[in-house]
């Protein structure tokens, strides 16, 4: 019987490498004793990037804080699919108040803990892109400005998925949503100025800002852990593909998240006190079409005719990101 040698080539999710690493270096998700912050039985769609992202983030945060964690959740898919009364998927202390106030509620939790002398307990606020970059943005900015001891995590799936895929301030240009239909002379979402939430967070000068995706759980876990090493306001922006809203296959969630980073449309980096300190390099930049083509929300760019003009503008955005963060330069870790 011929020996089939397996070559462990560490790439992407590092998933294969987990059990070969020493226990301390292993991913939180490889630990059978992990919290499972969102446990099984919730009602997320197949391939939900947000469910994946939230579990990675909260399990990592639970490990980083020794289980001393309170979570505040904005209204949205994550809240709805996890807590259909009388059931709950949450195995952490968890509060849902409203759509637009999660950062302020998290501030209130942090203030109470401080007043009670329980600053050993840490606070995470979390929401989707709607709750973060749109309706909750005022509260988020206030929380940043005061430097409240809260890590706010945005699970960005680039539209209002909970209500049926309407456009949000995080919806990329040309994407089809229920309110930016792929009809008319300029199908899909308009090319606006965009709202780069991580950079706006950085402009507040808060201790820590990072971006990540569900394609690289070890990087995501590292950033949660790193965020928890700071006191004050921190922000983590996680790209979480949504099969329903993006019109993609459930199995492609992780692949699409990876392609988003490899084409340059979603740069992955860390910033401290307003300055970028590290960016995840792209080994080989892929054209944006690789990322766009598997998603039905961009199908109108390929059929009935190839919209090279629109694709060109999207490619230009990706190229600008690559240049801005030096994603193709050597020497970055």
């Amino acid at each position: 019987m011929p020996v089939n040698r397996v070559k462990f080539y560490q790439t992407g999710s590092y998933a294969v490498g987990n059990r070969l690493l020493d226990p301390r270096s292993r991913a939180v998700q490889s630990d059978p004793a992990r919290t499972n912050a969102i446990t099984t039985g919730h009602r997320a769609c197949q391939g939900c990037g947000e469910a994946l992202g939230a579990r990675y983030v909260l399990d990592a945060a639970m490990r980083a804080t020794g289980g001393k964690l309170v979570t505040v959740n904005a209204t949205g898919c994550l809240e709805v699919f996890s807590t259909p009364f009388p059931e709950s998927s949450w195995r952490v202390a968890w509060l849902h108040s409203l759509f637009g106030n999660a950062p302020a509620v998290a501030t209130g939790v942090a203030a109470a803990l401080r007043a009670q002398g329980r600053e050993d307990i840490r606070v995470i606020g979390q929401g989707g892109d709607g709750g973060t970059v749109d309706i909750g943005f005022g509260c988020l900015s206030g929380m940043f400005e005061r430097d409240d001891d809260v890590l706010f995590v945005c699970y960005d799936n680039q539209a209002y998925m909970n209500t049926g895929v309407q456009r949000s301030g995080a919806t990329p240009p040309a994407a089809r949503t229920a309110t930016t239909d792929a009809v008319g002379p300029a199908p899909g979402n308009a090319f606006g100025q965009g709202k780069d939430a991580p950079r706006i967070a950085m402009a507040h000068g808060i201790p820590y800002v990072a971006t990540a995706t569900v394609a690289d759980p070890r990087d995501l876990e590292y950033k949660v852990e790193r965020a928890m090493s700071f006191r004050g306001a921190r922000y983590l922006h996680v790209l979480v593909p949504c099969p329903l809203g993006w019109g993609s296959a459930a199995r492609d969630t992780v692949r699409l998240a990876r392609l988003a980073t490899q084409c340059g449309l979603f740069p992955v980096y860390e910033a401290e006190r307003g300055d970028v300190v590290a960016a995840t390099p792209i080994r080989a930049a892929v054209p944006v079409t690789e990322y766009l083509r598997p998603q039905r929300r961009f199908a109108h760019l390929f059929r009935p005719e190839l919209r090279t003009d629109v694709i060109g503008r999207i490619q230009a955005i990706a190229d600008a990101n690559i240049a801005r963060y030096g994603l193709l330069e050597a020497g970055h870790d």
Partner: protein, 391 residues
Amino acid sequence: MTEQIEGSKAVARAVAACRPRVVCAYPISPQTHIVESLSTLVRTGVLPGCEFVNVESEFAAMSVAIGASATGARAYTATASQGLLFMAEALFNAAGLGLPIVMTVANRALGAPINIWNDHSDAMSQRDSGWIQLYAESNQAATDLHVQAFRLAEEMSLPVMVCMDGFVLTHACEPVEVPTVEQVGGYLPAFVPRQRLDPDAPVTIGAMVGPEAFTEVRYLAHRTHLDALSRIPALGEEFARGFGRPGMSLLAPYQADAETVVVALGSILGTLKDTVDGLCADGVSVGVLGLTAYRPFPGAALCAALRGARRVVVLDRALAPGVGGVVAADVDTALRGTRTPRYDVVAGLGGRPVTRASLDAMLRAAARDALDPVTFLDLDTDLLAGAAGHG
């Protein structure tokens, strides 16, 4: 010992004596002096162990209070007018979550037209938010109501709004006996939340509830409010025993066994009492029935108190356009089945002074049953004629 003190400062000191752990504030006239005073009390250590959070909006103020209360901290904020509307979504949320937040509403009109002066439009607009609403007649009452509000809130696991007339009370300097920390300590026990965010015993708070249980959840909220109807006077009596002055009650009658009884709430009660004294001296039988609790609405007690009245005048400091007064509708519900004529007087909107002379004339007309069903007190017909000319 009474002090000659501004209402806002007295309230701030009473709140501080209740030892809140989190106070959050966004400035709006005429609430500002309250939160300014609290900020100083925290910074000078008079109110120790308290986080004072300057937030970016009223929506955030209520949200911070929600987070703090859910974490087991006694939480307080104050607002008025547009600010109350801006936190409306969070008000319903705080009530639904059963969080015993206490908030001062320095009552002020709602725009447009923008108007910073006193009426009850703001609090009345939130009458169905699930908050208990208590109205202060004087600054002594406003001060004492805050202490009782924390006790009531925490006992019922419900948020309580203490409504005090903006400027008329908040900016008035009058004698007040401010409760001390020691006095309050004997009345208000440490806050023991019904449930709280605790990593050692994690709970899910704020789950989604569907059609199969939502009605039951709302029914329970209704029942809790009805329970508060008996707790308000009981806690008021306990307050009176501890503090040596009257505590809260559902109703505040003043010569209310008269032929004509005026139902009103807030600081206008004082001017009404002076007016009624003058009328009685002239042989006109008029009395006053003050409402301290507006939510829950003490309908049965009100109906009983008005049993002997030949007519009832409801003096509303807010307007439901197309209807008339707001409180009048509640009084109608309470008087269901009786034949007592009820007059609706809308007065003092947007800070229009309600004078003794105007009240006197209106009540004399009421006593003759010569009042329109809905009367706007001191309506300036010249101004209306001018407006009509421009229409």
